[in-house]
Symmetry: none
Subunit: 242 residues, 4 copies
DNA sequence: GATGAATGAGAATTCATTCAT
DNA sequence: GATGAATGAATTCTCATTCAT
């Protein structure tokens, strides 16, 4: 009735409003998880009403997917830049592992949502997020390939399996932390895991040096010793004789 | 009206009815996942009314937990028996890996529910199922320890991390299969993974001896041999001359 | 199929819809009591679906509480205005009693719900309704205090107990009526109760003067009068004789 | 199968089993109230299964009614005996009030159930419990009648209203206590209430003595004084004259 | 007399989504 | 672009009561 009293309607540029919604959704999803987050709560936090969200996102799941995509893009930002500053195959692999752990340690809540809701979802395979994930894990594949090219890794390495070793192990290992129990030490785990990935669990058995070489070396040394001894004797005889 | 028409009530001994409910729940949870399974459907499949389920299980989640526990117990059955028939550390480790993969391949639906609903649940840590899982993963820990005792593995092996490598990698690796895309080949994966776990990804040279060194070493040895020969000749000549 | 067939959605301003729901709930609670009233029925009567009620009220109990609060506010409306028109302590007290009885007589169903569900509930103490009740019973406390100040009531009157006498007695007395048996006559009860509250049940003799005493006193007075008369005669006779 | 293993079935004499059930039900109803008590819990406490209860009582409400009846009978036991030991109308009334308060103070939980579930129930009027209640409140009616007969109370006392004053006031007054907030002091309340019931709230105004009597008495005294004075004067004159 | 497995009809409540304004 | 009132289907869980054994 009274225009004075009418609620002030905020008209924001589209991308600004979208960002607000994504920020709110990120916070709520982090706090409550996907299932227990309600659109009403997200809207309230974004300072709008529920209906408005649907002007920007198709539905709750679509909103989640956008939250995750934005987050993934942040993960990818300056990845190649940083990685290119690291030299040596081993150091580069360690960096990839460490960076993943450090990221998890810094964003446990969203990681958890990702692991629970996205990676295990029916619609993940072939989705844009899956594509982002592929770009993310591409770095380790590249590092491994470099290692193969440099002759540091065996050429028949099953790259996808090695990739799963790294990401699967980490996910499994940090779950307690993601559930709020215990802490993680990215550096220590990165070192341990990198080491194991490199050399495996077997004791370093010196199988590489062909035994023949050893024998030949030993035999040669024996012969040198014997010859040297003989020469010494001769020299001694000559000195004694004059 | 007609007493003949009255619903025939099936009275079953308690443990039999419980088994029926668990069977029905296992089937429905496998088919629809936990979230989309309804108690009504489970009851219908078990041939009872919904209320009866609640005489046996506290609530839907409790039912899921019991389904999973029964299933886990089946996983554990004759594990140690079978494992004890396998000799050699490497073969035993391979068996543990293979068996896990084979089990997943045989029960994809329930595995999926377990990964989605149980392992990532808030109440998993410290739960009876967690305890069963510990008993299950105990086998790999034991095998690793045997390897250490036998001197086959380095003594400072971080056992929990190695365990996570095996189970985390497998879980990550089979996810596509669990989502209904693609197949898995337990034997091949078991071999690959076991190999990687044993020796890592690095080329099989114990110390970082550059491959080129071999040749130079070989050359050096040859020269030493030659030198030795020369010395021998020298020594022999002098002795023969006087 | 036919868009014409689509349910017509009534959009009402918030406070109007709220009023409709409260009206419907008041009617249903009055008819069936709290326990046997169903949200579905209330919604149907309000011309909406069940879910809509929950946009306005947290739950069934919250709805009941709001129904009661609105009703209490009606009880309080123009109370002080009317009361201020009544003069004399006794008349004012009688008005308070009568008004309460009249209100009960006019709203038996809701009174019943209030007595059964609210006043005896665990959450009543300290609730907003308790506060409203305090405002309502404040009037009698004030009237009593005025009586004390005017010297009509003894100064050490235990006000809360007197208040309980009035409201407790009424509640007890009208229960039959509230249960649908019998009728009540507010005027008659108000008079009786007011009288009893004023003077108690003891016979209206300030000290325990036996009724018989009056007559004896009267007789004594008569004899004294007679004696006085005799004395007067005597005195007069002697003066006249000398 | 194995008769050794078969559950031991307790066969108890009927009235003993009935007592056990009533005991259990009394405890559970006191703890949880009628609504939240479950037959299963009562059965468990009585050491039997739910079905057995229905051999002794028709349904849950019937059980409640029997619990209450047994309890009421305990209230009635030795009532008249004790009351007959108290002499004097006022003392007897005070005893009735005090006894009711003391009983409430000793059995708050069951009293609460009675007030909430029984007295306000639809089926109370005319029920056996109502009859027991009538027997219970008969005592106060009798005491009041005695007072009337003895001339201590006015003959037109509305007995039912006075009864409601006593029981209604008490019920209202103790509700806080029954809800677990606060305490009650039976002696103090009994005194206060008894006093108010006796004399009401009005200040003792000496209205009973007819003013005429006063005037006549005063007048008579004046006349006696005057006559006495006159006679004294005469006597003095005679003494002085001889 | 006692058992105890089974019933079965509800009831409250939730919340993503729509769409007239 | 934003509102926000309204939808409405779907679901879990309860528990007094029955009755074949």
């Amino acid at each position: 009735m009274n225009p004075q009293v009418r609620r002030v309607v905020n008209r924001l540029p589209r991308h600004r409003r979208e960002r607000d919604i994504l920020d709110a959704a990120t916070a709520i999803f982090s706090d409550q998880g996907y299932e227990f987050a309600s659109m009403a709560e997200i809207a309230a936090r974004a300072g709008i009403v529920e209906g408005t969200i649907y002007k920007y996102f198709d539905n709750k799941r679509d909103l989640l997917l956008h939250v995750m995509a934005r987050w993934y893009e942040a993960m990818l930002a300056n990845y190649s830049e940083h990685l290119s500053g690291v030299k040596g195959t081993r150091e580069r692999l360690r960096y990839v592992i460490w960076r993943h752990l450090a990221f998890i340690a810094a964003n446990p809540a969203l990681c958890r949502v990702f692991f629970r809701e996205i990676r295990t979802g029916d619609d993940y395979h072939g989705s844009p997020l899956n594509e982002l994930n592929r770009r993310y894990t591409r770095f380790i594949i590249d590092v491994l390939q470099e290692g193969i090219d440099a002759g540091e890794f065996r050429p028949d390495l099953p790259l996808p399996l090695v990739r799963d070793i790294v990401y699967g192990t980490i996910e499994h290992h940090v779950w307690c932390f993601l559930s709020g129990k215990g802490e993680i030490a990215p550096d220590a785990i990165a070192n341990s895991l990198c080491d194991l990935v490199f050399h495996g669990i077997a004791n370093a058995v010196p199988v590489a040096t062909p035994p023949a070489l050893d024998d030949r070396l030993l035999a040669a040394v024996s012969r040198i010793e014997a010859a040297a001894h003989a020469l010494e004797q001769q020299a001694a005889g000559r000195e004694a004789r004059p």
